[in-house]
């Protein structure tokens, strides 16, 4: 693997950002959207039975760590992942890897990272960042969702790596052991697009894919009968998952649209792919309108029109369906 001077780049999402930086560092220059795309990371899932902070899990992307997993499967990259039974071992291992000149990915909680804005510090355990150097007791951190590199003291970083609870990181560290220097992306792109389109259109369980979006819409309608304070928190929670948690806007829809647009260039500006990208950008815009409707409802003293909000979400699901059908059209050509 070739190694270059480490370069920090601003990304929308933590896991795809870390992987993109890591691969680039070791000689495979893939953009964040390309990493996100070939990892088939776009999805939707609404899991009312898994609660975090009293709110159901709503995800616009695949499970944490699935990007790390899928780039191995799809790109032939080899990653080494380690978790630790105790903090001392975890600290020592990180220091050793850094002294070997490696850059190291880590899973952390957001709450204990001192460089996060006070108002953004929540107990979310599946954050990813990259540690590229250490001076004295200060780690140099490339946190993809920040514009510039950050610093983190040893105590805070250890605390962030070893928080417990849902999605506990257990000190997870990861780094590549093999990075192919050249990849023929086209077939991988077709395959990964097909996977996303099919799972969004055809997942048999009602909690995932487009059915999941409609299920969420039905839950919004049912808020009518619930306590108003809870109803408002629930609505706000949806938008937080869609916008606040480093999604690149509109629950990763803009990021995936960027992947489709970038991919079209590899297929001689393929028209179908470009159209799908355009359509998904519009879907993203609709998600942003939905977010605005919710924000207004939260602020307003008037009765909330749950039905209007739910209908908007159902409309978005239908618009998104057209995108996946278009993508299958593209896949059928190759």
């Amino acid at each position: 693997m070739s190694v270059t001077e480490f370069e920090h780049r601003h990304s929308a999402h933590c896991e795809s950002g870390v992987i993109s930086s890591m691969l680039r560092h070791y000689g495979l220059d893939l953009s964040e959207p390309m990493v996100f795309g070939v990892a088939s990371a776009l999805t939707f899932a609404y899991l009312p039975f898994i609660k975090m902070g009293g709110m159901p899990l709503i995800a616009y992307r695949s499970m944490p760590k699935s990007i790390i997993k899928n780039i191995q499967k799809n790109l032939g990259v080899k990653m080494h992942l380690e978790t630790f039974s105790n903090k001392e071992k975890g600290e020592k291992r990180l220091d050793n890897l850094l002294s070997e000149g490696k850059i190291v990915g880590a899973q952390t909680s957001v709450y204990w990272l001192p460089y996060f804005p006070e108002e953004m510090r929540f107990h979310f355990n599946a954050h990813n960042l990259l540690i590229y150097a250490k001076e004295e007791n200060i780690y140099k951190v490339s946190d993809p969702v920040f514009e510039t590199p950050q610093e983190c003291d040893r105590t805070s970083l250890t605390k962030a790596r070893f928080t417990k609870g849902v999605l506990a990181p257990k000190g997870l560290l990861y780094y590549p052991t093999y990075v192919p220097q050249e990849i023929i992306l086209e077939p991988i792109i077709v395959k990964s697009i097909k996977k996303v389109a099919k799972s969004m259109l055809k997942t048999p369980v009602p909690i995932a894919g487009l059915k999941g979006i409609k299920y969420l819409a039905r839950s919004i309608r049912k808020l009518e009968q619930k306590d108003k304070r809870y109803a408002k928190l629930f609505l706000g929670h949806i938008v937080r998952m869609q916008e606040e948690i480093g999604t690149g806007g509109a629950g990763f829809r803009y990021l995936y649209a960027s992947f489709l647009e970038e991919s079209s260039r590899l297929f001689d500006s393929d028209e179908t792919l470009l159209q799908a990208s355009e359509m998904l950008l519009k879907v993203g815009d609709e998600f942003r309108v939905f977010a605005l409707m919710v924000a207004k409802a939260i602020k307003s003293k008037k009765e909330i029109e749950y039905d209007v909000i739910a209908t908007k979400l159902e409309y978005i699901a239908e618009e998104e369906r057209a995108v996946y059908l278009k993508l299958l059209e593209f896949c059928a050509k190759y």
Binding site: A12, P117, E119, K164, L233, E243, G249, E261, A295
Partner: protein, 138 residues
Amino acid sequence: MEINGVPQDDSSTYANNKKAIYAKDEDGSVKIVGSSGWSAEEIVTKQALEDFLEHELEAYCEVKRGLKSPLYYHMYSIRMDLQLLADSTGFFKWSVKRDFKPEVFAKISEKRLSIYAEVMGIDTKQLKVVQEKNYECN
């Protein structure tokens, strides 16, 4: 969304940081633009923060009234809840709940106290008291 449509609302929640949003450039490429904030997102983030603050103030008053132990207050002041505190310490939920009782907490073992202090990132002395707040409980 087009690049010039990316909101630049200077949200306080971003604390002068910029967040990467993907948007369409004039040449048709979809790329990263730094956003200084978006009012809709700021509203929902602040809603969550206010919810934590309300819990914290309610807890503060309950401690003042002698109904709950300082542990109960500190849990909310660091944006945790019962489930997370139980998960973080490895203690059973019911036993954490017991420690919310002032009379139980008063007799807590040093060992148990130090586990709470460790996961909550405060020292044991701080954990045993609640600082006076400029807030009127009614």
